[in-house]
Structures are given as structure tokens and as C-alpha cells.
């Protein structure tokens, strides 16, 4: 393995940043959700890279758990989006302002 670990961490940081900007910029709830998935995956990459760097499999186990939590989160989040869409006929987050003061 000749690639420095830091390169993977920089790619991970870039993907996390793109995901963050996606959450802040986009208006479609589904695309915002995909950006959150991108962030979770970026963190997984960082965990696996650290696991490789330290010669310890705990990072991979943590990435595995984070995948499970992401799957649960996707299921609940998509159900919420479907419920909102039924009520508002829109997936735009600007239309969901009932709790806005």
C-alpha cells in the first residue's frame, strides 16, 4: 500500500463538504436526503482509512454500524417525505413551514 492515508482522508473531507453544501443549497427534500447519505459515506471512508492506518479493525466495525444506522434512517426519512408529500403535494422544503414562527 503506497498511497498515503491522508489522501483518502482528503477525499473524504471533500465528499463531506459537498454533502454539506448540498444540504444547505438544495430545495428538494429527496436531494437533501441524498446529500446526507453522501456525508454518511464520507465519514465511513474516513473510518475505514483510519482503521487501515492504525492496523485495527474497530474502524471497520464502526463503519459497518454506521451503515446499519444509515439504512434505518433512510427508511424513516423516506416515510416522512412520503407522508409530507401526501399532505402538501410537494417535496420542496420551503413548503413545509407549519412550525415556522
Amino acid at each position: 500500500m503506497n498511497t498515503p492515508i491522508a489522501y483518502f482522508l482528503v477525499v473524504s473531507a471533500a465528499l463531506f463538504t459537498i454533502g454539506t453544501v448540498g444540504v444547505l443549497v438544495r430545495k428538494n427534500a429527496l436531494v437533501i436526503f441524498m446529500s446526507v447519505e453522501l456525508q454518511l459515506n464520507a465519514v465511513n471512508l474516513a473510518l475505514v482509512a483510519f482503521s487501515r492506518m492504525h492496523g485495527n479493525l474497530t474502524g471497520q466495525v464502526l463503519a459497518f454500524f454506521s451503515m446499519v444506522v444509515a439504512a434505518a434512517e433512510v427508511v424513516v426519512g423516506l416515510a416522512i417525505i412520503v407522508a409530507i408529500y401526501r399532505r402538501r403535494a410537494s417535496a420542496n422544503v420551503d413548503d413545509v413551514n407549519l412550525l415556522k414562527w
Binding site: 441524498m34 453522501l38 482503521s51 492506518m53 466495525v61 459497518f64 451503515m67 427508511v75 416515510a79 407522508a83
Partner: protein, 199 residues
């Protein structure tokens, strides 16, 4: 140049490029397809980093199950219209991109300070840490040290499945006794006033 370096320099631009393309795609389906490309490149990174089990899980769970769920919901809702570009908050987009670049610079600086751009992983990772295969080694850690958290995730998945069922069901009110009697009535359940209105 070693094989893993070639793989990295081929897949890193694809990974970041597909993520940026996802960001600029105004159609949700195209965004989802770019995200699938990004997940595949991440799976390749996992393989390079000595995690073949997570490579398989990434493709099966993320690129397979989760993205199919996403595409299914996009098709179900019919959200194929392009989204509006109206800004509710003035200057939100430039500020978000600026803050994002700041975050990136900060994290890269932290990586440089904490890890350094020369640090490489141990060369004997596959023979020592992944002894007997990555899946076996991972199972040793998972079922010895992290057995209880592993069981807790199963509870989490059940709760999530029930929550999805409750959230996504159509709410239909149970019919009252009076309504049921009205439906069974021979005149189609008209009220007194409706019956008078009929000529």
C-alpha cells in the same frame, strides 16, 4: 507507481466529480444515478484500504438496497419536475458554498496537522490484522467486543420498520355505527333533508 496508487488516482476524480455532478443536477433521478456512481467508487476505496467485506456491503446495501428505495420513492411521488431556484433567504447559496470551502480547508489543515501527508498504513495489514480473511477477522471483533451494540442495531431496525409502516400508512377513520347503518339503508343512506329534496 504501485497498483493502489493508480486505482486511487483513477477513482478519486470520479468520486468527487460524481458528487459535484449530483449537486448540480436539477432532476432528482439524475442526482440519484450520480450518487450510485459515487457509492461504487467508495466501494473501490474500501477494497484498496483492505476492507473487502465492507466493499461487498457497500455495493449490496447502499448501491443496491438504499438507492433502489430512493429511486422507488422518486418514481412513486413523481418528483420529476425541476426544482425552483427561488431563494427564500437572500444570499443563502453563496454563503453556503463559501462556508463549505472554509470547512474543507479546515479539515484538510487538521489532517495535515494530525496525520501528515506522508503517513502510510502498515504493510502487513492483510497478513496480520486480516488474518484468515477480512470477514473472519471482522467477525472476531464484532462478536467479541461489540456483540451488545450489534444486538441493539437489530432492535433499531425493527423500530425503523414499524415507524415506516406507521408514517406511510393512509389514515382511514373507522366507520361509526350510524354511518354503517346509513350505508345499509335501502335508499342509499340519505338524510331526512335529502329525501325531502328529491322530487
Amino acid at each position: 507507481m504501485a497498483a493502489d496508487q493508480i486505482v486511487f488516482w483513477v477513482f478519486a476524480p470520479i468520486s468527487i466529480g460524481s458528487a459535484i455532478a449530483m449537486l448540480f443536477q436539477r432532476n432528482a433521478i439524475h442526482a440519484a444515478l450520480f450518487l450510485i456512481v459515487n457509492f461504487f467508487t467508495l466501494a473501490v476505496f474500501f477494497l484498496v484500504l483492505g476492507a473487502p467485506f465492507l466493499f461487498a456491503v457497500q455495493i449490496i446495501v447502499y448501491a443496491g438496497a438504499i438507492m433502489v428505495l430512493f429511486l422507488f420513492v422518486i418514481m412513486l411521488l413523481g418528483v420529476d419536475r425541476d426544482e425552483s431556484l427561488v431563494e427564500r433567504l437572500k444570499g443563502q447559496r453563496p454563503t453556503a458554498i463559501l462556508l463549505g470551502l472554509g470547512l474543507l480547508a479546515e479539515v484538510v489543515f487538521a489532517v495535515r496537522a494530525g496525520v501528515g501527508f506522508a503517513a502510510k498504513g502498515p504493510a502487513n495489514f492483510d497478513t496480520v490484522v486480516n488474518r484468515g480473511g477480512n470477514a473472519q477477522a471482522l467477525a472476531r471483533v464484532l462478536f467479541r467486543d461489540y456483540f451488545f451494540p450489534f444486538e441493539v442495531t437489530s432492535v433499531l431496525l425493527i423500530v425503523a420498520a414499524i415507524a415506516a409502516m406507521v408514517l406511510a400508512q393512509r389514515r382511514t377513520r373507522a366507520r361509526t355505527q350510524a354511518e354503517r347503518e346509513a350505508e345499509e339503508a335501502p335508499d342509499g343512506g340519505m338524510t331526512e333533508r335529502e329525501r325531502e329534496a328529491v322530487p
